[in-house]
């Protein structure tokens, strides 16, 4: 479980950073999306990984921090997803405006001289 999550975070984060550093706006936005997946998984894992645990209460048991999953990181992930979605949409609009105004999809607004 730990290995799986760690690999997922690592692969997503690595590809995200690589794409973020590329010169095309489309690559940048895909990179940012991958990075945000990686970060969301990471936040989720900060609530401690556990399989088969009850969401909040065992049947008939009393609530104890040691037994149930930590719901807070899940709430954080939800918020992060919503905010990330909105800002990505906003970035897309600016990208399109940049493409229209500068006539190129290079992040600097002009092609590098070769």
């Amino acid at each position: 479980m730990e290995i799986l999550i760690a690999l997922a975070v690592g692969v997503l984060g690595g590809s995200g950073v690589w794409l973020l550093l590329r010169p095309r706006t489309f690559q940048v936005i895909v990179g940012l999306s991958l990075l945000s997946y990686a970060v969301n998984l990471f936040i989720f894992s900060m609530g401690r990984l556990r399989t088969g645990a009850a969401p909040i209460l065992e049947k008939g048991g009393t609530g104890s921090l040691a037994v149930f999953d930590d719901p807070l990181p899940q709430a954080l992930v939800l918020t992060a997803i919503v905010i990330g979605f909105a800002t990505t949409a906003l970035f897309l609009v600016v990208m399109l405006a940049s493409r229209g105004l500068t006539g190129t999809d290079h992040v600097d607004g002009r092609e590098r001289d070769r």
């Binding site: 973020l20 706006t25 940048v28 940012l32 990075l35 945000s36 970060v39 990471f42 936040i43 900060m46 609530g47 401690r48 921090l65 930590d70 807070l72 990181p73 954080l76 918020t79 992060a80 905010i83 990330g84 909105a86 800002t87 990505t88 906003l90 970035f91 600016v94 990208m95 405006a97 940049s98 105004l101 500068t102 992040v107 600097d108 607004g109």
Partner: protein
């Protein structure tokens, strides 16, 4: 009766967030038209914010060492719910924000607010995000308000459109989106280790964290710090800043100049709260980084100030110098220096805000390409040869508007360079004097403090050189064509900001007393922690 009054007063804490949110939402619903109604609404809301901030400042100043108001959202206890905390620092930042908001909004009413859609709504949301970031006492809530203020700032930075703004805005947004992801990583790491996101609770739990967990916590804090330093524009994280600010429309740029101070605020608040003297093994974690980073930022900003050829970039570079100065001063970790840094921050924010507005007025009538001034002209010896030789040109009068603008420009230059008699000088003096330990005889001054002193003074000199050069080229030339037309509504905000700086100079005593009390509160966070968590015993609380 008094209890009821207190209860009503405590609701003041949330008004700086609710008011602009409501007004902004209303403006969105009003749609594209009805500009004058929206302008009136926006102006009223911004003015009300100033009044609110003044009331909160008064309350905070009367509250001693503890926060004046701890507002529990939904009345949940602090560790479960989110709290808003009004203490001296928060109230000070609120006042600064609201004044700048009012000035920028008034300035835009002359013409800039018509250059694009939804300007007024964006200003309101910007004010809301800033207020929230300054008031919140919860780490994740801080993230949310960061996103609100950033989303509004994306819109404001792009206001007026055009290739230059969109190009700079693209970089600005990309950098801030990446920084937001880092914020999430840092905050969740801290949560994973400490089991809480409430700032006061965190401060109480940190001394008890040991071993690997302490290392993880420090990693989380360092990542979080990186985010704040990106916003504050610390070298090498601040290359985006001058370009973005120079490209933004002037009222937006004036408002954005407080944005870099949000990063500084977060560093001040969190670093001193979490890693102050009471943090056990982690006390002072990262202080040297702040000091060295601040010095490097001042140096970079100084070089940028000298090298720049256009006025808006000059203002952007001044933002870097001002950020670097505050960072370095805070990094020394001395109470007195922090007090001076706060005064410097207030003075420089007002001055830079006024400078952005003056630039727009002064440059209004100059032809495109006139920006390639100063360095190139001097290097190639142009200008002198074109000097008219007719006799009647000698006694030419400086037009009235140019004279007023020139005086404002000079005031900005004095403030930014830190020369007497204005508050910039007092603030720099207030930083340097306690740092060099004038009052404590026989105490060795660390090398880095000397370096900072030299860099600070040199940066002042460089700013003066650059501003003089620019000033001569703009105000000291034979006027070509007619002088810029400036309306009263455009000049009033500049006058307001500069008058406030003057007031800060005249009333330096009370202002400095407030700043020192703020610095005391920041360096001894026990009062803050007790105020937020009344029932807390030191080192208590369960794990995650």
């Amino acid at each position: 009766m008094s209890a009821a009054l207190n209860h009503a007063m405590s609701h003041l804490a949330i008004l700086p967030i609710v008011l602009p949110l409501t007004v902004g939402a209303l403006m969105v619903m009003l749609g594209e038209h009805r500009r004058s109604l929206k302008a009136a609404l926006g102006f009223a809301s911004a003015a009300a914010m100033v009044v609110l901030a003044l009331m909160l400042l008064h309350l905070a100043d009367g509250a001693g060492g503890a926060p004046a108001i701890v507002y529990r959202l939904g009345n949940w206890p602090a560790t479960f719910g989110i709290v808003l905390v009004v203490d001296r620092l928060a109230a000070l930042m609120l006042l600064l924000t609201s004044i700048l908001g009012l000035a920028a909004l008034t300035f835009s009413l002359a013409r800039w607010h018509q250059m694009g859609s939804h300007f007024h709504a964006l200003v309101q949301f910007q004010l809301m995000g800033l207020s929230g970031a300054f008031l919140t006492g919860d780490l994740f809530n801080l993230f949310v308000f960061f996103e609100v203020l950033l989303a509004a700032s994306y819109g404001l930075a792009l206001h007026g459109s055009g290739p230059a703004r969109v190009r700079a805005g693209l970089h600005y947004i990309a950098i801030n989106l990446a920084a937001s992801l880092l914020f999430l990583i840092g905050a969740s790491l801290i949560y994973g280790v400490a089991g809480t996101l409430n700032m006061a609770d965190l401060a109480a739990r940190i001394p008890a964290i040991e071993g690997h967990n302490r290392m993880l916590l420090e990693v989380g804090a360092a990542i979080l710090g990186t985010v704040f330093l990106v916003k504050a524009g610390m070298w090498p994280l601040g290359f985006w800043l001058p370009t973005t600010y120079a490209a933004a429309s002037p009222p937006a740029a004036a408002l954005l100049s407080i944005l870099s101070k949000v990063g500084l605020y977060a560093v001040l608040r969190l670093w001193l709260l979490l890693f102050g003297g009471e943090a056990g093994e982690s006390a002072g974690f990262g202080g040297t980084w702040l000091l060295v980073g601040g010095i490097l930022t001042i140096s970079f900003g100084t070089i940028a100030v000298l090298a720049t050829q256009d006025m808006a970039r000059l203002a952007g570079a001044s933002v870097l110098v001002s950020s670097g100065t505050v960072l370095a001063a805070v990094g020394t970790g001395q109470v007195g220096v922090t007090g001076g840094a706060l005064l410097y921050m207030v003075s420089s924010v007002l001055a830079i805000g006024a400078f952005f507005l003056v630039i727009d007025l002064a440059e209004r009538n100059r032809e495109v390409g006139a920006d390639v001034l100063a360095v190139s002209l001097e290097a190639f010896g142009e200008g002198d040869e074109e000097e008219p030789t007719e006799g009647e040109e000698i006694g030419i009068a400086i037009p009235g508007t140019l004279a007023i603008l020139g005086i404002s420009f000079m005031a900005c230059a004095l403030l930014l360079a830190g020369l007497p008699p204005l508050s910039g000088f007092l603030a720099k003096f207030a930083i340097l004097s306690p740092m060099l330990g004038v009052s404590e005889v026989g105490k060795a001054v660390p090398t880095l403090a000397w370096v900072l002193t030299v860099v600070l003074i040199l940066s002042g000199l460089a700013t003066l050189v650059a501003m003089t050069r620019t000033g001569i080229n703009i105000f000291w030339v034979v006027p070509e064509g007619r002088p810029p037309r400036v309306r009263v509504i455009e000049f009033a905000p500049v006058a307001l900001l500069l008058t406030l700086c003057l007031g800060l100079t005249v009333l330096a005593g009370p202002a400095m007393r407030y700043m020192e009390a703020t610095a005391q509160g920041l360096h001894q966070p026990a009062g803050y922690v007790r105020g937020v968590l009344p029932g807390l015993r030191a080192g208590g609380g369960g794990g995650s």
